[in-house]
Amino acid sequence: MAIAAVFRTCPDTGLKVHSHAENLIKANAVVAVIFLAVGGFFGLLVALTRWPAVHLLPADAFYLVLTAHGANVLLFWILFFEVAVLYFASAILLNSRLAMPKVAWGSFVLMIIGAVIANVAVLQGESSVMFTSYPPLKAVPHFYLGLILFAVGMLGAVLVFFATLVIAKDEKTYEGSVPLVTFGAITAAIIAVFTLASGAVILIPTWLWSMDLISEVDPIIYKVIWWGFGHSSQQVNVAVQVAIWYAIAAMVLGAKPLSEKVSRAAFLLYIVFLQLASAHHLLVEPGISSNWKVFNTSYAFYLAVLGSMIHGMSIPGAIEAAQRRRGLTQGIFEWLRKAPWDNPAFSGMFLSLILFGFLGGITGVVMGTEQINLIIHNTMYVPGHFHATVVAGTTLAFMAITYLLIPLIFRRELVFKRLAKWQPYLFGIGAAGISLFMMGAGTLGVPRRHWDITFTDAPLTVEMPGTAFLMMGLNGVFAILAAIGGLAYIVVVVGSVFFGKHRDEAVAKANPVIFDGGEAVTQYGSEGTIRIPGTIVLVAIFFTSFVLYYFVNWKYLSEVWPLR
């Protein structure tokens, strides 16, 4: 086949774009957004049910909808979008053809079949086992089969990604080391292999158990291995979202990392240690030693936290250095004040970075401390934490990069630009509110996953403080705000993809969406400066918050569990 028939030249970057890669990015991104819409709708129903004054759904429907919400947003939305990012970071950024397009399309179809089967199983009403599906809760066999098919499809996509790296190196489509964003994608793909292998190891016997082909699945063994899948899948998100933060900073502002080597070392810390955080789900499990718990969640995992803190300084630092290079040197924060806050790609990225760090990052370390974990284990604090990481962090970062993928890959101009400008703020503030108020309710003892926090029919009564009801009500209010932000995203994306003005070479030249042809995102290189006073102030505020919050929790523990 002639090269010209399968490649186009991007008018914005000058990169060759392989048609299979482009079509697969489009297909995976579109399907991801569909699952976001479905899962987000279920999420709104969950929040309106947990709002005590509304209490929308009956108990049976609540657990069904909660299961559907978890599967659609934590797995299907996120992983379809991550496949799009993997193909973008390999074939597009490396200027290469995509390896094995037939395998890539086969994987895509398998993922859709798996996701649809799992959804059908849940909606049939016999599989309300929630995202974790802990035995002895048993779903119908096709629920597990759907998840297994989805995981196998995802594994195929990861295989295509690695094969594309080999082809790009072999065909010398780039020189030296891969760009940092591609390295972040490699990190995500590696974590994905561990994640999917763990899923296969535990979901296949659970599927056999659901068909009565084996007699039992040990619940604690299940928990250990399942969390290698369930939590590590969220660590794939972390790696991809950090890669996206670097990508947007580079594409919108031409920002290079402060030190490419240090940022790569931070990703290496992710590769080795990030998956170990899975153990924090088992911190109150009897029968497992504190050695295993503390080594995994503290000693080893803190090295991954170090990686996150390096990224957390490097990315705003890179933005500050790039802005200062362009003359925005007045005072400490002129670079930040005059950042492109009306560009939804930038505002979404920066909000995602701040919310992930302050709300998700700090609380993640608190949760991962064995002693403090006792205060909040299995309370609303847990979904509060992961809504900060996965919704305010990952989902907002994915939304932000969409505003660049639409002009660059779909080759359409954005429609409803005013709505697009406000969308990251609506969604970000909504997601931040959800996280904060869930965590507040959890600190007051509100259990997670429970239909009725008053325990009306329970033999022992439980009295929650009035503040807990207020927190759950505010969670509902901010869930509505986040849903409006999510709906705005879908309206802008669907409207732009179907009705946006076609972006030909003339439009691309007249209205460039990326800085300097995207050189900073496709090449190895560093800003090579630490003259970043504004970022140092931000980092100081972060550390002060971190230390204060950490010790406040120890103080709180000493009050609820006095040692005499």
Binding site: N95, T173, E175, F194, I221, I225, L282, I288, S289, N296
Partner: protein, 57 residues
Amino acid sequence: MAKSAKKAAPEPEPGDIPFMQRLLDNPFILLFIGVTVPTLIYLVWGVVEVAQIPLAK
């Protein structure tokens, strides 16, 4: 011409490339590390701990 596909410079000798860069430039060694470490420290160690819990009599 793509930004990352500039005219090829002379290939450096393997000995010229620092160990860490060679490590970070090899996704398959990283894949091996990234799968082996959590498999041993999290999965294998965790399952051994659970398997050692004595059965109730």
